[in-house]
Amino acid sequence: MKIEVLGTGCSKCIQLEAVVKQAVAKSGKFAQIQKVDDIMKIMEYQVVSTPGLVIDGKVVSTGKVLSVDEVLALING
């Protein structure tokens, strides 16, 4: 599983990355977490409000910091 956090370095993006790390640890799954700060890559995902969350190439959330449980639900779902 590959999880990408899209963001150009705002505080919310850093928060979301931390949340994702906690959620992955909690899920016990093996996942690759990547922070994407290249604006062109972010555009390719059609995301215009950061932070965005992408799981296995699919955009699952934009413009907000999710809670650990919400991310966990997305990882398991």
């Binding site: 150009t8 919310k12 215009v48 409000s49 950061t50 934009t62 413009g63 809670s67």
Partner: protein, 314 residues
């Protein structure tokens, strides 16, 4: 009711007298009132916003006429969240969807100006009339400011090459259950409240001090009808205060009650929200300094014009 209750508490339960009692009463009454309204209004706005995200706005505005685009972008600016940190993806994303640069600016002007904190603070402090005037004038600046920037052919001032996406984007509203929307809105409200409650207290505290101790003549002579440059000074002072909208507004309340003209106050508050230095610094990465200058000049003069107009009419 809350006014009498808080008065009773200060004068009879604690037993304060004179100016100190006056200032403490004002402080307690105003802080609690504004906190309550902040929570209520931010919750209402963020609840509505769970349907519409910025991606939806982009898809909705794609391929629309310029007339519809400017008005639609400005109206959407009220309801969608805006953080200056996502100004870049937003700006480039709009260009990518072939939305004209002027329409993009209409949105970029309206979104921070009509943010939920400013609206909630205004409503709590000045009531619905001034809030409606603020929103109406804010929309006017956003529609005409964006339209004017669009007329200036600024496409070459974008420093990044963005490929337009093929075809139409699909505009889909966010699907969530009622409970999920309420929960999301509530979490967001608490988040914002935790960040700003202290600034409300500080702002009201300084306001209470002015209210109790600084003579009316002093403020009226600097900010009232006697000073023809008051609006311009107010706008210039508002530019560096973006992050502190919650603390600045209680001060404006006291200043207006002591003789500051309402047009001057409105201009000041619009400058605080619409002209932000951090946003300008972020935009500098993708658009030329010239375009940023034009953006600030157009919005700034629009706000100043509104202040004078309002001072003359009322």
């Amino acid at each position: 009711m809350w006014y009498e209750l808080s008065k009773e508490f200060i004068y009879n339960v604690i037993g304060l007298q004179g100016k100190l009692a006056d200032a403490s009463h004002f402080f307690i009454y105003d802080t609690i009132k504004i906190w309550f309204l902040l929570i209520t209004i931010i919750f209402a706005i963020s609840f509505l916003r769970t349907w519409v995200n910025t991606e939806y706005v982009r898809a909705h505005l794609q391929g629309k006429s310029s007339f519809y685009g400017h008005i639609g972008a400005s109206l959407f600016g009220i309801i969608t969240p805006f953080c200056s940190c996502s100004a870049i993806p937003l700006f480039l994303g709009f260009i990518q969807a072939r939305i004209p640069i002027g329409v993009t600016f209409s949105y970029l002007i309206s979104a921070p100006m009509n943010n939920e904190i400013a609206i909630a603070m205004l409503f709590g402090i000045f009531g619905w009339k001034v809030t409606s005037i603020y929103i109406a004038f804010g929309l006017t600046v956003a529609i005409f400011g964006g339209w004017l920037i669009g007329k200036l052919n600024m496409e070459k001032e974008i420093l990044m090459d963005v490929k337009a996406i093929e075809g139409e984007l699909e505009a889909t509203l966010v699907k969530l259950s009622f409970q999920e929307r309420a929960k999301e809105a509530w979490n967001y409200t608490l988040d914002i409240f935790k960040k700003i409650y202290i600034y409300v207290m500080i702002g009201v505290g300084v306001g209470a001090w002015i209210h109790g101790y600084i003579p009316t003549d002093f403020i009226a002579s600097y900010t009232g009808a006697g000073n023809p440059f008051a609006v311009i000074i107010a706008v210039l002072m508002g530019i560096p205060m973006y992050s502190n909208a919650a603390g600045v507004m209680p001060l404006v309340e006291v200043l207006t009650s002591k003789g500051m003209l309402l047009g001057t106050a409105l201009s000041f508050m619009m400058a605080v929200t619409a002209l932000s230095l951090p946003e300008a610094l972020i935009l500098k990465k993708i658009i030329s300094l010239k375009l940023i200058g034009i953006f600030f000049a157009i919005v700034g003069s629009g706000i100043i014009a509104i202040g004078y107009l309002f001072n003359i009419i009322l």
